[in-house]
Subunit: 256 residues, 4 copies
């Protein structure tokens, strides 16, 4: 059967990235404490395409994924990218996995265990054999407004906020490391299961540490900037304001 | 050209509803104070289909919409449904418009004006000449947790919540009426623009009126149940908990 | 510490449903061929609340979930609902799990294996000891337009469509059963991995079986109506029309 | 009342961008043919923040928006950014409007008029008085697969695809210009209203011009690269494959 993809391109322009996205697959992720966990990922896979070829061979991305172990760690991720480069005869390959990552967390007073979910991402671009690897975690926290607290006779508005961290680094870093940096940056971490004594503690802790989105983004950026392994980072904090129908947000990139 | 839709159905089953959805159109909406406003609606239009016909004529929904005034009030909505029944030779017709509705609101102390948006819906089913009309509004509010307030030495967690009202009634009701009922049900309304003195007022007002989702759903249901024109309602309140990564919610239907 | 939830309600109205939603948890699902699979679910849990109590105890939903096996089958689901009724001293309990379900599918000619995902839902309402159980699957298919094919000198527009099945039944039914009914209803099933010979087969099969959304919804409804165990069903088909920027859709409920 | 925002920052780090997002507002947009249209925009507004200040004054973004004309063209957009820089005493300001833009389109044979919607974006960063302005449009098109057509005895799979264009340029460009470039790049434009003779024409036109996502992204990139005013562009094409449950995509940036 005819290989239309190999035909000459009508317009001889190189394509930066061509591939598949919106794939959903089961995924096993390696945990910091050497356990593993099962989750589900949204996947995007792509390569570059030289100016002369009409099309890439999309089914080979699926073959690479099918051939792959499905167990995500730094080495297996690199293996997948190498395999894609080989199968598609490309110079560059890009892969991204976005998935909920689960941690069993103890509530702060009663010690009751509940499962928390964090949207995480693993992103890698292999260019001429060199891998640029980006690890990310979206970490929900609670924020109490310092201004509202200072000016009000009673109370202060609080809300859920999300600390979205992206980072590049040398050596090994774990999603758990990013989640810890994110959680320390807000007024208080959030939990799935809180008994009454925990709710009292979380409320009082948060009110003792009021934070603007500006404070949160700086605290997370500072945590990343002072981390010896981190070479680049971007942090966005979005706070779902309880007194408005819109969000406040702040972004710091790279610690320039 | 062949009219394939008029062919006999392979499987002779009547279809409850067949039509188009995901349409986006500019819309003019009549306001309570006799002004008008421009907005954009997601539209769904449908009819029933008897067992004998293979298909309906989808392009006629678009013709009906094109022929329609684009100015939404009770009478024009009925006109659209009548037109659809006629064009598609159907017994029943259904139409739904979902759109942001805007109100210019004064902040409570400084009186500064800002624009608030409320997702609203107008839904109608015309069956054998009888119209069942449903009006809805999603109203954001602030909630302060009564439990957190009672047990904590300082503060109480608060968050944005959404009061989603659907209602049927006799005579005329306005989106503004539903929005007022929703806003009264929370700990405090939310605003787009708050100066410092307003933020102090909103915080203190909310802390003086702590509400669970259960309180909010009952207050809104009570407002609807005691309204002389309302014949049916459904209220859902969802609170985007600031101490959790999930929501609390409550639903009351119909005031049974 | 004060149990504010047990206070008397300010407005003495019973609440139909109160609980938590937007929870994300790892889930193990039993497969028809007696295997199991790991996935991730969005969870909603709720109970009714009598008129006299101010609030329900939200943390108990999380305790029930934490205490639960996390392995979803008919019996374990019933166990979860019974546990919720007990922990929250409610008359009714409702639970819903929505999750991607994965099947390894062979392509039709080359027999190459790829993973397909189907959004599925398990929904149960336990009322006074009686369980109303609803099983659902969203099944992507391909549709080729019969009208476009009949009137055009060459070709016919095709597109992805989704067959959304909800069903109640006696005895045991499996997600695989619903997926098969859905896939048979379109012009051709869709696959994640297709080699060239498979793509030829899928294209030709689909073009030999052109279907309107009306045909697809009737075929799926017919498959459910003629199934001896099915006691109720609802099917919606949405076709993401390739010649428009909107969808066509059709709904049949119950086989009345 | 205390101005907490003016306090010294705990961590003296400059913030790249801090502001509000998720705002929804009515918007008037100037059309190429010198008319205007009403639509609704999602808005994001931000500034930089020097290392020494704890927080920015969020309410001033809303004041700037309230003070602004609400009529979007190049000059008014610049005015808004200048006003934000002034009100917030910032060096940089960023604004983004994302909105559906409507065009009344004639179907290709019957000439019947229908309304099409295109998601558009206007994005500007004012840095030290210099404006970097980006205009974008997401253009839905139809694609027919060249491979499927070449290898199949009958037919070829087709689907909706989206051409997402972002561009920077000298002088004046219009959303209509970008939409035309996008629509020319696919197998055929899509329409909201097609009579039977139009559907025949669209089907046959599309089948006479089969395109991979690679062809579409190159055609759109070529249209932009050869435009005398365009100084930078990025095009992404996503095709919602009708034979798969995932998308194919391709990206070209900048015409390097």
């Amino acid at each position: 059967m005819e290989d239309v993809q190999k035909h000459q391109a009508e317009i001889a322009m190189p394509i930066d990235r061509v591939g598949v996205k919106g794939l959903k697959v089961p995924l096993v992720v390696r945990e910091r404490d050497s356990g593993i966990q099962h989750t589900v990922a949204q996947v995007s896979l792509a390569v570059d395409l030289p100016a002369e070829f009409k099309g890439t061979h999309m089914s080979r991305f699926l073959e690479a994924l099918e051939h792959w172990s499905g167990e995500l760690d730094y080495h297996s991720f690199r293996t997948l990218l190498d395999d894609i480069v080989g199968r598609l005869q490309a110079r560059n390959a890009h892969a991204r996995f976005v998935f909920p990552y689960f941690l069993r967390r103890r509530s702060p007073v009663s010690g009751t265990v509940g499962v928390m979910d964090y949207t995480c991402r693993v992103d890698g671009l292999l260019e001429n054999g060199k891998l640029t690897f980006t690890l990310g975690a979206d970490v929900p926290v609670m924020t109490v407004c310092p201004c509202s607290k200072a000016i009000s006779d009673e109370g202060a508005h609080s809300q859920r906020a999300e600390v979205r961290i992206l980072t590049r680094y040398t050596g090994l870093l774990w999603l758990e490391d990013l989640i810890e940096i994110g959680e320390k940056a807000g007024s208080c971490p959030v939990y799935s299961l809180l008994k009454r004594e925990d709710e009292k503690f979380v409320t009082e802790t948060a009110f003792a540490h009021p934070t603007f989105v500006e404070d949160v983004v700086r605290a997370a950026a500072d945590g990343l900037a002072s981390h010896p392994q981190v070479t680049w980072y971007k942090v966005e904090v979005e706070s779902f304001e309880s007194i408005h129908n819109h969000s406040a947000f702040a972004v710091i990139e790279s610690g320039k």
